[in-house]
Subunit: 204 residues, 2 copies
């Protein structure tokens, strides 16, 4: 064994692996990290509100990230379909990624229908108490269907999209979410304001 090898090995042994923790990151960011988990029917405003909140938080120099269908469904979860099992795995992976972002000191906003109580409960468990705020975008099916931004309700009614939440697959409303937004009564700006108030109230 060469001397240099010896040196490297020794230094490896005595090297104290520095740990940049979540606490240190939050200190640097000057805010706490948390998941804002938006749930609700397609068209209930989840993604729009999440991006609106992100915009407000950016003005405060918060470090944020929105996870939604656009950046997750074709990438990380590109191998998954829409069977119950695949939907469950989809939400599990999103929960795990959200956990990593929270550990990284960020406010992560997720915008997925996430229709099943059990899946959301599992994510809450993964994240741990105080790290997961469930935000229910409550909106009547009638209004969501009238909006039909993506034209999916029409397709679901025609039977072209199977197991569509609200039409051919159930939506299980949250029983005790941290926040309810009645998105068929409030403006987007009012919804955004309520989410910001939640963060302020909880000191995030």
């Amino acid at each position: 064994m060469s001397e240099t090898t010896e040196k490297a090995k020794s230094s490896n042994v005595v090297w104290h692996c520095p740990a940049i923790t979540r606490e240190l990151r939050c200190q640097l960011n000057n805010h706490n990290s948390v998941v804002l988990w938006f749930t609700g029917l397609s068209g209930s405003g989840k993604s729009t509100i999440a991006h609106g909140v992100e915009d407000q938080l950016y003005q405060r120099q918060y470090r944020t990230y929105v996870l939604d269908g656009d950046n997750v469904r074709h990438g990380l979860c590109g191998d998954l379909g829409f069977s119950n099992q695949d939907r469950q795995e989809n939400i599990r992976r999103i929960g795990e990624v959200a956990r990593l972002f929270v550990d990284a000191g960020m406010v992560v906003l997720t915008a997925f229908i996430s229709p099943f109580r059990q899946d959301r409960a599992r994510v809450r468990e993964i994240l741990g108490e105080g790290n997961f705020y469930e935000i229910y975008c409550r909106c009547s099916l009638e209004v969501c269907e009238e909006r039909d931004v993506k034209g999916l309700y029409k397709k679901a009614r025609q039977g072209l999209v199977k197991e569509f939440t609200g039409i051919s697959s159930p939506y299980e409303a949250p029983e005790s979410p941290e926040l309810i937004l009645d998105t068929d009564q409030l403006t987007i700006a009012e919804c955004v304001e309520k989410v910001i108030a939640l963060l302020d109230k909880t000191g995030s």
Copy 2:
């Protein structure tokens, strides 16, 4: 339909969805986002060096995150084993998560053996040119096996761990990595310095 509903729907239509982009985040962070992908045998120093680099970057107020076995194998990839197919899927998911972190404006450091050229090439493709720096922690099997920090080489020699990279499964060395660290000749501090120099040189 009530008036409030009408109001909400209208505001939803005119609402301009604000987009906080990667560029804006990097501007806020005051640095570029990139993946530092450490690859090499078990015991070659990947994780130690990654954490050392992170420590240095934290002093510069960089926003960073290390993905390694500790925070990925039991969570996001907890459903995967060590078959070739599962290893491939493991690296794919890590690549996709790294992509999200890069989009979020962060410097993400990954520390996985990632023994197969094809898997690493796929991650490079996912990330896109200029966003992926492959860092080869080059170290002889002899030295890695002598270090055997986790006792895995001993188990592999005893046949208790199957398909162990370097012993019973191949390691395909990078052909044109952005950086080679001879970790059996350099100290950890020297390795860290070289990675920082790479970042400085490329303007990240």
